[in-house]
Symmetry: C2
Subunit: 380 residues, 2 copies
């Protein structure tokens, strides 16, 4: 937070106390205003159940106007992640549900790519989420346990959490630099149910840790963040992957056992043991949705993986394991001159393919194969 | 709710379940979209405590843009009343607190006067509110008791609540018509600590019950509504009044023992046993704030008064007793040709002066004095 900034906060039911704490902290640091954006997945369910299907893509014009105004002013944004309503869209027609993309706004990708706002998505426990993660505990114990997990994952149990994140950020940046120096032409992912080669652009850059806005404000776009990631070549992905963690769509739909086959960069087969149709519906929103916008490598030194817990929340689960994402890429991760070649889409959906057994190998333009991750440790 | 309308809902912490219920009902009736406006008085307190005082009148431009867009589209609005944070601004400098008028928007008065939206303010219990109203009960019992009160007050315990409100609306309209036919020049209020004469405009019209928007949609602006009210002459109010109920400002500040002296329509002395300064600060926002925008008569046949409970919520307490309001008047309550003579202000603050003992008397232009309310019963 910088003095004079507006702080926009996405808040879900059950996160009201965290919103109060964040708002008080922001005002103490000189915020001009703290503006909540309240989103309830249960209400989204009502809409899809009852509203005229032809209206489900309607977005009130003041939603993007707010986001673009925050971007124009170089303001700050917080998004409270976490499952407010488990499996909120269960049983609905996925094609209908896919028409309502809220709380995502199509303008968000551009705002992020332009590095207009210092923003952070971070997990805030809710009681229903705790019961989803820990169904065997009584509700109060589950809620306390999830808070303890999140507290640990966010390094809030360190004497100086900010310093701990700065140190981790430096580690991630070192690995990103090492990957950049190799200028790999492709990355191979090999493991159980996975054999995929993802092409990189000549200028693909690896990123990790803290970011800086165009106006020079350092921020962590995600907390936790344990990944080193890049924007791959959207025209080169071949092979198949099997997800190693459940995937929770932003509307609460939980996919298990996702399997995807890629040809020439496109996902040509998308199946899952549960709720594959919900993902397929979201992949139909635009041309770029079936192509890769992100390749992220996660070592075993983060705090999510060792908990060996499925959190049903991408922000946590993706930091447990290496992952890919359908949809929107980060132009800044491909260098200025190639920014136009990275993938474009209105969606960005991460799915986990990593595990300690996953072998990640870099392939140079000359065909040399260089071990990158083995048993979760960096080899370069 | 009409098919195709957006429903804007003002929601406070603790009212999340009611928001879900309202949203589901609206979508079942064909709403295009249900848009929450989340407001937390505790966050407002943080702002006033910590933010730069010079910025406290800042309102994000998308707040009025949203309201004016709803008005332009002739949409529907719900405002969940009720105390989310008791005495939220206790101990703060009232002059500072008065600079932040949110959640009120200065554009709201015009939107209401233009009858652009079908809107309804109605009480939704919260746990902190229940503990404020029933400090002697354990929290769960207090919460259940407040819900039972509100359920009764809203006539939801009637076999057909909508029919019950239609019937009450007809009663109120009959009394309003009788008052209109007398064309009183002034109304006298006489009771313990109160001796005030409020002038009316030649075209002041009395209103009550359901309203109709400019596009012909019938709606209850307030539920409950037990009042018959008009917009008085802002230049003629003389005498003094003592409030008969505590007054809760929208930010949660509770005033007790309010005493006001009027001269030539202006409140020239404003005192209270508790928190008078908070009201005085709000009355400084503009020229019209110290003049009367409303005179409302309440009989003893409503459901709030007989409960003999102080709810610390104007929407309930005002419907227990006859009342006045500082600030913005309703131009539609003064006839087309005199609409420009009613009071204008960015605020509208009701305060209760009624009781069964209050004698309300109409004074005709010829000086005839006609009993209007005696012992809470209509005499005309």
């Amino acid at each position: 937070m910088q003095p004079g900034q507006i702080l926009g906060v996405t808040v879900q039911p059950g996160q009201e106390q965290a919103f109060r704490a964040a708002a008080a902290a922001a005002y103490r640091r000189g915020a001009l205003f703290v503006d909540p954006f309240y989103f309830d997945p249960d209400v989204k369910r009502s809409r899809i159940e009852h509203a005229d299907p032809e209206t489900l893509d309607f977005v009130p014009p003041w939603y993007p106007a707010r986001l673009l105004a925050l971007a124009e002013r170089n303001d700050a944004r917080l998004a409270f992640a976490g499952v407010a309503v488990p499996n909120a869209l269960a049983g609905l027609d996925p094609a209908l549900a896919g028409r309502d993309q809220l709380p995502s706004l199509k303008e968000a990708g551009r705002v992020i790519s332009e590095r207009a706002t210092n923003w952070c998505a971070l997990p805030v426990p809710t009681r229903p989420w705790a019961e989803l993660v820990y169904p065997g505990l009584d509700p109060e114990a589950a809620y306390e346990r999830l808070w303890r997990d999140v507290w640990h994952i966010l390094r809030l149990d360190e004497p100086d959490p900010a310093a701990a994140w700065d140190a981790r950020s430096q580690e991630l940046k070192r690995h990103a630099t090492a990957l950049d120096e190799r200028r790999f032409d492709a990355i191979e992912l090999r493991g159980e149910g996975t054999d995929l080669t993802v092409g990189l652009l000549p200028t693909s850059r690896w990123n990790g840790g803290a970011f800086e806005t165009r106006s020079g404000v350092e921020h962590f776009p995600n907390l936790p963040t344990e990944e080193v990631f890049t924007s791959p070549d959207p025209l080169r992905a071949d092979g198949h992957v099997t997800s190693t963690k459940p995937l929770v769509l932003r509307d609460g739909t939980i996919l298990r056992g996702l399997r995807v086959r890629f040809e020439g960069g496109r996902a040509v087969e998308v199946d899952a043991d549960e709720n594959g149709a919900a993902l397929r519906a979201r992949l139909e929103v635009d041309d770029g949705a079936t192509r890769l916008g992100e390749l992220a490598l996660v070592d075993r030194r983060g705090r999510v993986g060792p908990l060996e817990t499925v959190f049903y929340e991408t922000l946590l689960d993706e930091n447990a394991a290496s992952h890919l994402a359908f949809g929107h890429a980060f132009p800044f991760a491909a260098g200025e001159q190639e920014a136009g070649r990275v993938n474009e889409s209105g969606i960005h959906i991460d799915f986990m393919v990593g595990s300690p057994e996953l072998e990640v190998t870099g392939v140079t333009g000359a065909g040399e194969r260089v071990p990158v991750l083995r048993r979760g440790d960096w080899e370069i």
